[in-house]
């Protein structure tokens, strides 16, 4: 990449199962103030703003109307993406590299507790003509996918339970996690089925929170006093939106996104990366995504490595040290940005009890949940890429 782009500030709120005392605007205001302080910038200096939100999650149509005031973005370039926060990072990077902005802010939040009937809302994400009339809840899509994934890869249900237990346990060391718990795989396997073979304890619960990230071009980063996390690579992609024509075993959207990100970051072997923060909306998704990221050549290997503890915090490739979505809570469009926050803290050496040694390169990955095939990958490093 010719022109370096870095994250020079992050601000975030604690994830909470519900936040009845705060509006989404107050969550955004808190995260924005923290991010601007962290980056050492004034809101007035920022050239452009990106927010990631979906109308139906917000309960407001044309949600971008309500974004500028609490971010200090009035009469500034501002737009919304109905995508995950990692797409927002890619968007900001492109704005900076095209030369129209030096400082760009990306915001994403979750006020999931406002949605009283999330399952019912998700029904509306199904194809209205071919799928919705069949009357199944979209968790069933995850159940079906998990079933074929286990069948085709040889990964066992116990492995998925181990993922859930690992991430909930990791969250015990994360003060902003909403669902920390010393869970054992046995506990997970005794929780009821939601959509066979998917169990309740393998589904991330929703949480409220907000993340604001400040990105800067090379010159601005060098002037900043904060410890920069350089963007080494970004990628995003969709597989088929249609249930009937997608790949149900492999997360193609992540394979394609990762390929681009690795190429930009000049990474030949993904194991050069020190830690991974990947989507684990459903426990099996962590394994599916790790395979798509190229860490395992075949499924059974992913299962064996998990058993050997490779993805634990003290393993060779720690995955979701933060607790992931299972441990921290699923924060809708902010999910990817909470993964980025963990990378930034680890790269800066500010992850306190979770801090890993020698972190120079980390990867964050997101998925937009059922029934989508939309995902993104961001690779961050302490060194500016060549």
């Amino acid at each position: 990449m010719p022109d370096g782009v870095a994250i020079i500030g992050v601000g975030f709120t604690s994830l909470q199962p519900s936040t009845p005392h705060l509006s989404f605007k107050e969550l955004m205001f808190e995260a924005a103030q923290k991010a601007y302080l962290d980056a050492g910038v004034q809101a007035s200096e920022i050239d452009s703003f990106v927010t990631c939100a979906e109308d139906l999650n917000e309960g407001l149509s044309i949600f971008d109307e309500y974004t500028p005031d609490q971010l200090g973005a009035v009469q500034k370039p501002m737009h919304t993406l109905t995508q995950d926060g990692l797409h927002g990072i890619a968007d900001a990077l492109m704005q900076i590299r095209s030369g129209i902005a030096e400082l760009v802010v990306v915001e994403a939040h979750s006020k999931a507790s406002n949605v009283k009937t999330p399952e019912w809302l998700l029904d509306y994400a199904l194809d209205p003509i071919y799928n919705r009339p069949l009357g199944f809840n979209p968790h069933a899509v995850a159940g079906l996918e998990m079933n074929v994934f286990l069948h085709e890869t040889g990964i066992r249900a116990e492995h998925c339970a181990q993922v859930a237990a690992k991430n909930r346990r990791n969250a015990l060391r994360n003060p902003v996690a909403a669902y920390p718990l010393a869970l054992t795989p046995m506990h997970v396997e005794s929780s009821p089925y939601v959509a066979y073979p998917l169990r309740e304890a393998e589904i991330a619960e929703r949480a409220d929170g907000c993340v604001v990230v400040v990105l800067a071009n090379e010159a601005r980063t060098q002037r900043s006093h904060s410890k920069a996390a350089w963007i080494c690579g970004v990628g995003f992609a969709n597989d088929s939106a249609t249930l009937e024509s997608r790949d149900w075993v492999r997360a193609e959207y992540i394979r394609i996104a990762a390929e681009r990100a690795y190429r930009q970051a000049s990474i030949q072997n993904p194991r050069e990366i020190r830690l991974f923060e990947v989507d684990d909306t459903y426990a099996y998704k962590e394994l599916q995504h790790l395979i798509a990221l190229g860490l395992y050549s075949e499924g059974a290997e992913a299962g064996r490595s998990l058993e050997a503890g490779e993805t634990k915090p003290d393993g060779k490739i720690p995955v979701n040290v933060s607790g992931g979505a299972l441990g921290m809570g699923l924060s809708l469009e902010a999910s990817g940005l909470y993964r980025v926050v963990e990378l930034v803290l680890q790269l800066r050496g500010q992850a306190s009890a979770r801090q890993l040694a020698d972190v120079r390169l980390g990867l964050a990955q997101s998925w937009r949940g059922v029934p989508t095939t939309s995902g993104a990958v961001v690779i961050l490093g302490t060194e500016q890429p060549k």
Binding site: L60, I62, E65, L93, A237, N238
Partner: protein, 391 residues
């Protein structure tokens, strides 16, 4: 500026209509295919896809961008949906511009789709949900009301007569008679417009664009590919967008400052100092008749309060000094929200290439500006395009 130059190399659209039989995905693909065909390209040559579409509430589909993705051609490709309410159609081109200008992608397919007819009995009901839960929704406002407020403020501030506003409808609906995809082309007089039903004073039915189904697409390419693909690429010379406060009740609605800011961002990038002299053709956003005039002033193409007079003098006619909305605009071609904005970009593409058929403005125009607007009278999005390669 060091950014890579970007051009539009293909454009296509479906007919705008009241109730299309096609599904939203099918509409999106019909437009995408026709844009690809016009660029003589196929989907495998497209590096990324950008979708623009307005509220999910119209289609009743949650995560509508994801639902539409394969219809748009965003299959096993980088794909995203950008969104600034009614301003989306023009903004989507700015979004795709920086996808290519950044060097991350060489080509981009921009698709804007809207199917409003699925919202029964009328999509206006979906607009109730755009207002603030606490301070506004209890008053049960709708778009007609708030735009009636803005139109009144505009007329009062500058002493503008209703006839001056009605003239926009006459011009645009007449221009649309020459547009093969138009929904509401008509030969009407000022008297006809003023005799139509009052929706919310001073807004009359024929001063309001219809609700529509339709899709539009354009193909963008970086300079190397653009030159190779086409001997007449239309260059994107400037882009700008600007979002004002959500508290619209605290603003003076007589003048759209956010449009001015977005316009100057785009003009500066395009090296334009005197917009009135350096722009040959304008496609401002005209969902309501007064908005075209309001936006021409925001775009610096008419002094404040003077756009109605220039219109009456014939300056904005197709053969006038500054042809405005030669397509027929939203009032004439139709208003499938995001798709309507992108239709304006298509019109510039065809006009600047001399391919606009009976709509062609005389004098070989070299540069045009398209603009859209949306949210709570709050966002301005502007794209400047021209036949000359940017410096």
């Amino acid at each position: 500026m060091s950014a890579r130059k970007v051009a539009v190399v293909g454009a296509g659209m479906t007919k705008f209509m009241h109730r299309a039989l096609e599904t939203p995905k099918e509409l999106a693909w019909l437009a995408a295919k026709s844009a690809l065909d016009s660029a003589v390209m196929n989907l495998s040559q497209i590096d990324c896809v950008v979708l623009g579409t307005a509220p999910d509430a119209f289609d009743g589909v949650h995560m509508k961008g994801e639902y539409l993705s394969d219809g748009c051609g965003g299959w096993k490709k980088p794909y995203l949906r950008c969104y600034v309410g009614g301003g989306t159609g023009v903004y989507a081109v700015a979004q795709a511009w920086f996808h290519v200008a950044s060097g991350l992608f060489d080509t981009a397919l921009v698709v804007c789709e809207e199917k409003m007819s699925s919202c029964l009995p009328h999509p206006q009901a979906a607009f109730l949900t755009i207002f603030d839960h606490i301070t506004e929704q209890p008053l049960k406002p709708n778009l007609l009301w708030i735009f009636a407020l803005e139109q009144t403020r505009y007329m009062e501030t500058y002493g503008i007569a209703l006839e001056d506003i009605a003239r926009v409808s006459v011009k645009n609906k007449r221009n649309a008679l020459d547009h093969p995809a138009a929904q509401l082309g008509a030969n009407l007089t000022i008297k006809d417009i003023l005799a139509s039903e009052v929706m919310a004073w001073p807004v009359h039915r024929l001063m309001v664009s219809p609700t529509s189904d339709g899709a539009v697409a354009v193909v963008l390419a970086g300079e190397e590919i653009a030159r190779r693909l086409s001997d007449r690429p239309v260059w994107i010379q400037g882009v700008g967008w600007c979002l004002d406060t959500a508290y619209w009740t605290n603003r003076d609605l007589a003048y759209p400052e956010y449009v001015e800011k977005a316009a100057w961002t785009a003009y500066r990038m395009a090296g334009i100092r005197e917009p009135r002299k350096e722009i040959n053709i304008a496609e401002p956003y005209d969902p309501f008749a007064y908005k075209e005039l309001h936006h021409l002033e925001g775009l610096q193409l008419a002094p404040k309060g003077q756009a109605p007079k220039l219109l009456a003098d014939g300056v904005f006619e197709r053969n006038g000094d500054l042809p405005v909305t030669p397509s027929g605009g939203l009032l004439g071609v139709g208003n499938p929200i995001a798709a309507a904005g992108l239709m304006k970009i298509c019109e510039l593409f065809w006009q600047l290439r001399g391919e606009a058929g009976p709509r062609q403005v005389p004098g070989k125009p070299e540069r045009g500006v398209a603009q859209a607007w949306g949210d709570l009278m709050q966002v301005g999005t502007v794209v400047v395009m021209g036949t000359k390669e940017p410096a």
